[in-house]
């Protein structure tokens, strides 16, 4: 469901369709949201303070209101949470990191989640305790699982930032959640400020653009937008491992041109299935089935039609060309830009979009010679971090940014808008340089320069969602 969850919440669409009232017959809910399986974003980058390592941030459970009650949505102990890596370019995982959680209550009779004061990640005043094991799976060329290694054991999930009375020093509690990994590197699973930033609100209210109090955001390239994700928390899974753990030859990356330099990253969620009825047989043939996945930002939202989303979430990136290639090649948003605003954007045969996001840019983010068109976030591990990162990434000549991986500061909404409008196409092939944006340029809270990089979770007591971007001079296309 991804970002559509936001649409749902902001539209105040009932998140669950009512259960039966006047009757005892047991209709279960028809939920429109499934946050514990909902992976909203993946970032993959080389952190300036950790050269030689891959850093991945993957978020689950969107739009958690910090004041909405602590541990409102614990992670699903019956699900598998994955960050997957393709280092051969076929769209299948070669290395996969799997988090699996356990939940227990210290006092099951209590109606509380935590009591003052929580001073450490394993504080006995935390009633709902979640822990996890992290496994590293390795696959061979025939896609067979050849090795599973537990690289973290019984690590604590950082509890929610209830407020200064319950958690006087959240940073200290969070620091206790950083867990070293067997084989090198570290991980943490923590509530964090949602690192995504976007203005969703303008259009939701029946295209109510003239609402009083709304600053003029122009083309969206001069600030003035409202960050609708600001102030909300999510669960961030942050993973940092030595490059050699994930490259195709198991060796560090010598440079941007090295044959092992580029990897594709995505996250998935799996749940258990089985037979509806056992009919007296032992066991139900439990198997795991993928219910959600995410690679590049916003693909699911704007490229995949609503009726295909279940299929998208259930399938592998390796089959994206066959299943969804036509939607990327002829993207709906391009048609929409033209239908609404008559911009003359190229609507069909958008090989530029397929290349930027799915097959990779040759010489920068293409894996191997004949890569599959797969929705994975491609990162060239040989490109050193930029000294002065630009939120427009590659569009602004900063090749250490999106779509070469994705850093937390990368403004993927503005970048993708400009790309869809034709920023990557030569002028004689329908290229257009249109300075579009959403009026939001950065996250509401600054990111940290050290692990786990995401901003500290907002606390429930002083929760203050949403933020307006200050206005500034228009940013042209190409950006300066």
């Amino acid at each position: 469901m991804k970002r559509l969850s936001f649409l749902a919440a902001l539209l105040a669409v009932a998140v669950a369709v009512p259960l039966s009232i006047g009757s005892s017959h047991r209709e279960a809910p028809r939920i429109l949201k499934d946050p514990t399986a909902d992976n909203t974003d993946v970032w993959a980058f080389t952190a300036p303070d950790a050269p030689g390592s891959l850093t991945v941030v993957s978020n689950w459970i969107p739009l958690a209101d910090p004041a909405g009650g602590p541990n409102f949505y614990p992670l699903d102990e019956n699900a598998r949470y994955y960050v997957k890596i393709d280092n051969t370019g076929d769209g299948y995982e070669d290395v996969a990191y799997r988090w699996q959680f356990k939940t227990r209550f210290r006092n099951p009779q209590s109606f509380l989640y935590a009591a003052p004061t929580v001073d450490s990640v394993r504080d006995p005043d935390i009633n709902l305790v979640q822990t996890y094991d992290l496994y590293k799976e390795t696959y061979n060329k025939k896609r067979k699982l050849v090795d599973v290694e537990r690289i973290a054991d019984d690590a604590p999930v950082v509890p929610d930032n209830v407020g200064p009375k319950t958690v006087p020093n959240f940073a200290q509690v969070e620091a206790g959640g950083v867990t070293p990994l067997k084989g090198g590197g570290k991980t943490i699973v923590t509530p964090a400020d949602d690192a995504f930033f976007v203005d969703l609100g303008t259009i939701f209210d029946g295209i109510n653009l003239d609402a009083p109090g709304r600053p003029n955001i122009g083309l969206g390239n001069q600030g003035g937008g409202k960050d609708d994700v600001a102030g909300y928390n999510t669960k961030s899974f942050v993973l940092q491992v030595p490059e050699a753990e994930v490259t195709r030859n198991g060796k560090p990356v010598a440079g941007a041109d090295a044959g092992n330099a580029v990897i594709g990253v995505w996250s998935t969620t799996e749940r258990r299935r089985g037979s509806v009825l056992s009919r007296g047989k032992h066991g139900r043939g439990d198997r795991w089935v993928q219910v959600s996945r995410l690679g590049n930002p916003l693909i699911n939202e704007v490229i995949i039609p609503i009726g295909k989303k279940d299929k998208f979430n259930a399938t592998s990136p390796a089959n994206d060309a066959k299943n969804f290639g036509r939607f990327a090649l002829n993207p709906e948003p391009a048609r929409l830009l033209n239908a609404l605003f008559n911009l003359g954007v190229k609507e069909t045969d958008r090989a530029d979009i397929v290349q930027a996001l799915l097959t990779g840019v040759p010489g920068l983010t293409q894996i191997g010679k004949k890569p599959a068109a797969a929705d994975t976030l491609k990162l060239n591990l040989g490109v050193p971090p930029a000294a002065n990162p630009n939120r427009f990434g590659v569009l602004a000549g900063d090749v250490a940014g999106f779509p070469n991986g994705r850093r937390l500061i990368d403004d993927v909404v503005d970048i993708e808008l400009r790309v869809i409008a034709g920023a990557l196409l030569p002028a004689d092939q329908g290229g257009k340089q249109i300075p579009l944006g959403d009026g939001v340029d950065q996250n509401d809270k600054p990111f940290r320069s050290q692990f786990p990089y995401v901003a500290l979770a907002n606390d429930g007591f002083s929760s203050d969602p949403k933020r307006i971007e200050p206005q500034h001079a228009p940013v042209p296309q190409p950006p300066q």
């Binding site: 009512p18 259960l19 749940r271």
Partner: protein
């Protein structure tokens, strides 16, 4: 210049919203599988109204929700959200044939989405089409295992007497969670109810406490704790909790249980008051075009006229020949002094293998009255295993029948 054109620059806002714009604007949008524009807002208003109906227990919201869904469908007969909302409403009104029709129509429009499957599965179960329901549920479980599918699978297993599997699936539903805390609280209550059926009062109590932790003050959670109290013999506490729950949400089932507990406590006036409230509530549902269902039949058989209950039971059975309807009609017949006919329907109620305490109690009492002592003993023994799930009055009937 149209307003949209005039506001062009501002409309070029977030990429992420374009999916939404498609819903709201694109006239006859050509995109594959996209629901087309127009009524999206009406559909969402309809769903809001159904939510309101649930929160207040006031079924007059049904009528208003119906108008919203109709408005959406008039604008676009292919509006999947409106179709599914209307399907849910049909189910709430016990018009399962209509629920099935609308669900199938929605699936036809979005064949690769599971969105319509819950409506289809619910209707098939209530219409007694269990083989078809099993196929639908298996498909849901294969494509999208989540709270929605696990909780339905759990109920289906329960109907087949697979209580351990039902508990397992409901635990998966609870840990999967949902978009609203009420969903989670709701399945935690259902988990508690299953534990009562398994005779595990302590485990049931913990499940109800989880529900109340998910949603403080949740009426269904309080009813659950009241049932656990009653099962452990603390009727005074049960009555207090039921009064609180009924004050928040005056559901028929809560009021009837309260009446029965009050009666056991020797407070007939309080019992009569609760029953009168239950009758008023039933009337409200009828006025909101809700068809009678098994619950109404049992209510009439226990607290009204058994002869009328039989007539009502026939109607319910003809419209929705489920095991639940069979149990209700069977009980009405037994109460009306026709235990042989009652037994034949009671047997239908358990033909899938259900070990439901009330189904088995009804079957046992019918068998005893029909002079089939061995059969009665068998059914009553199963009911006795699950007696924690029975109301105090039903539990007393069980004791009498076992004597």
């Amino acid at each position: 210049m149209t307003p949209i054109r005039r506001n062009l620059p501002k409309l070029l806002a977030p990429l992420a919203t374009f999916a939404c714009v498609v819903l709201l604007l694109a006239p006859g949008g050509s995109s594959e599988g996209q629901p087309r524009g127009g009524g999206a807002r009406y559909a969402s208003i309809g769903n809001d109204l159904l939510q309101k109906a649930r929160e207040t227990g006031d079924p007059s919201y049904y009528t208003r929700a119906e108008r919203s869904f109709h408005a959406a469908l008039r604008r676009d007969a292919r509006d999947v959200d409106a179709l599914l909302g209307a399907a849910t409403l049909a189910g709430l009104r016990h018009d399962f044939g209509e629920q099935l029709r609308l669900g199938i129509e929605a699936r036809r429009l979005m064949p690769e989405s599971v969105a319509a499957y819950p409506e289809i599965a619910d209707a098939q179960v209530e219409l007694g089409r269990y083989r078809a329901a099993e196929r639908t549920l298996q498909r849901m479980l294969d494509i999208k295992p989540n709270l929605t599918s696990y909780s339905r699978v759990s109920y289906f297993r329960e109907l087949h007497g697979e209580l351990d599997g039902a508990v397992e699936a409901m635990r998966l539903a609870a840990s999967a969670g949902g978009g609203a805390r009420e969903n989670v609280a709701y399945v935690q209550v259902l988990l508690g109810d299953l534990e009562l059926q398994r005779g595990r009062v302590g485990a049931a109590r913990l499940a109800y406490i989880s529900a109340l932790r998910s949603r403080p003050g949740y009426p269904a959670g309080m009813v659950g704790l009241a049932r656990a109290d009653a099962a452990s013999g603390d009727l005074g506490r049960a009555a207090a909790r039921l009064r609180r729950a009924a004050g928040r949400l005056p559901l028929t089932a809560t009021l009837v249980l309260l009446a029965e507990v009050e009666r056991e406590l020797g407070r007939p006036a309080a019992a009569d008051g609760a029953l009168a409230a239950a009758r008023a509530q039933q009337r409200l549902y009828r006025e909101a075009a809700t068809l009678p269902d098994a619950e109404a039949v049992i209510f009439e058989a226990d607290h009204g006229s058994p002869a009328h209950a039989v007539r009502l039971g026939r109607r319910v059975w003809d419209a929705a020949p489920s095991v639940r309807s069979a149990d209700a009609l069977g009980w009405a017949l037994t109460r009306a002094g026709r235990p042989r006919e009652g037994l034949s329907f009671a047997r239908r109620a358990i033909e899938l293998g259900s070990r439901d305490a009330l189904f088995r109690l009804h079957a046992g009492i019918a068998a005893r009255a029909a002079g089939l002592a061995a059969s009665a003993t068998r059914h009553l023994a199963v009911a006795a295993d699950a007696r924690a799930a029975l109301s105090p009055r039903a539990a007393r009937r069980l004791e009498e029948a076992l004597r």
